[in-house]
């Protein structure tokens, strides 16, 4: 489905949305009851308390950024050799290829 379809859907009235949900069974009591356990399992899956307030949100500020000391800059008590040694001490082989 392309962008226009979704933009159209986004703009549809609440009545139209209600009809569509009825058509696909998403608001029918028997369907909801049969799916309730499955959906509850998803909604209460690991990561929070089962309600919107319990969702452990990712901080968008941190995404696609260095996960440490990014806000103001690197700390001066680190140097590249020290940092590299920390990784090597874990015992994994990390080497350049190709």
């Amino acid at each position: 489905m392309d962008s226009e379809d979704y933009k159209t859907r986004r703009n549809m009235s609440a009545v139209q949305l209600l009809r569509r949900l009825d058509d696909i069974g998403a608001i029918k009591l028997d369907v909801l009851l049969s799916k309730a356990a499955e959906i509850r399992e998803v909604v209460s899956a690991a990561g929070g308390g089962g309600g919107a307030s319990g969702l452990a949100e990712l901080d968008e500020w941190d995404r696609i950024c260095y996960p440490f000391v990014i806000r103001i800059g690197p700390r001066h008590d680190f140097d590249l050799v020290t940092v590299a040694d920390e990784l090597k001490q874990l015992g994994f082989e990390v080497k350049q290829r190709g």
Binding site: R75, F78, Q96
Partner: protein, 384 residues
């Protein structure tokens, strides 16, 4: 690819999910998204590479982690946050690993009546638009937030923070899909290349190779070629990569007391992976955009005095550079000198730097223009 496999197997693997589960899920969300992004860009850069099967294998192993029930939960209950939770899914779909059920739910969440109800700074709006473009097409990339982001508004360079710099380095690839789509014609690309130069000097000054790797995506994305300073910065990144076998980041969190092995791996590898991913994205972008920096010819090392930069990595390259290369690094030299002068607000030195910049026809460079404006403000403050 080696670091990607290591992170998948030793940090993100499901067997670690019960050890500090909140931290685990946060890392899966963040590193999983970044890995998916890297794989997508690598696939574009190396369509016929011998590592292609490994790339597919990584994508297959990543898929169940980033399409976990928790993702559905966010899409059901928090549609305004859908872009960050669907990024990995859409990247994997482009790699030939679709998931139709998640796709339908993701698109509905991205189209909900509150899909934009998350107050974001402009470059984060471009970030969300980039995810949306994978669902709805390239027109999502031409977003009005571009003019408010560093692409249109520039970067306050004189005392730019690392976050200021990341705002710039993120806005560019998101607005252009890592250089695939050119920036609008009214964007001043030369000004942006100048900003990239100034931020590369900041990264070299601070030995911050993570930031440097991201900044070095700017030349291929802007399609304006490599300046001597940016080529030199690339040489620094490449040399360190060759010497260590990977690219070290600018630091790691302190170890807590009684740290377990799993915690240590997560703390160290779960931090340092990012710089390798950034360097990988940088390489893939350079290759995909066919904008490889020119190789510096090996010659007898020059004897020019090193400029007053901090950091250690760039100094090794400086010592090994020919006099011709050292002489070409006028901007690097002046920018380091300006940074030192700004630290102590040495107005005489700042004025000298600007005079030299004028002699070298660099006065309209954004860094020196901003320094000039600063002198103007200071001068104005002294008027009776």
């Amino acid at each position: 690819m080696g670091m990607a496999r290591l992170v998948l197997d030793e940090v993100l693997a499901v067997r670690f999910e019960n050890e500090e589960p909140d931290e685990y899920r946060e890392l899966v969300g963040k590193a999983g998204g970044e890995l998916a992004m890297l794989l997508r860009q690598a696939d574009r850069a190396f369509p016929d590479h011998a590592d292609r099967e490994e790339l597919r294998s990584l994508a297959r192993d990543l898929a169940p982690l980033v399409r976990a029930p928790q993702v559905y939960r966010f899409l059901f209950l928090r549609p305004s946050r859908a872009p960050m939770h669907t990024l990995a899914h859409f990247c994997l779909s482009e790699l030939g690993l679709p998931d139709e059920r998640l796709d339908r739910v993701a698109r509905l969440a991205l189209s909900s009546s509150v899909c934009a109800a998350n107050e974001r700074v402009p470059y984060r709006i471009l970030d969300a638009a980039w995810t949306r473009h994978m669902a709805f097409g390239d027109e999502e990339l031409d977003h009005p937030a571009m003019s408010l982001s560093p692409i249109g508004a520039g970067v306050d360079l004189l005392q730019a923070t690392t976050n200021d710099a990341y705002a710039f380095t993120h806005a560019l690839p998101y607005a252009t899909d890592f250089g695939r789509i050119p920036l609008p014609s009214d964007v001043d690309g030369h000004n942006l290349l100048g900003i990239a130069e100034a931020l590369a000097v900041k990264a070299l000054d601070e030995d911050d190779l993570d930031l440097l790797a991201e900044v070095l995506m700017a030349p291929p994305i802007l399609r304006l070629g490599w300046t001597p300073t940016l080529s030199f910065a690339w040489e620094v990144l490449e040399r360190v990569w060759n010497e260590f076998g990977f690219v070290p980041g600018p630091g790691i969190p302190p170890a807590p007391q009684d740290e377990t092995h799993t915690q240590k791996v997560r703390r160290v590898l779960g931090t340092l992976y990012h710089t390798m991913f950034a360097a990988g994205l940088c390489c893939a972008t350079i290759i995909a955009c066919e904008s490889v920096p020119s190789e510096v010819q090996q010659d007898v090392p020059g004897d020019r005095e090193a400029p007053p930069g901090k950091g250690s990595a760039w100094k090794v390259n400086w010592m090994r550079s020919s006099q011709l290369v050292q002489d070409s690094l006028i901007f690097l030299n002046l920018a380091f000198t300006l940074r030192r002068a700004l630290e102590v607000v040495d107005l005489v030195s700042i004025r000298e730097v600007l005079n030299k910049a004028a002699e070298c026809d660099l006065l309209e460079h954004p860094l020196f223009m901003q320094a000039l404006e600063m002198l103007e403000r200071i001068g104005e403050s002294q008027q009776a």
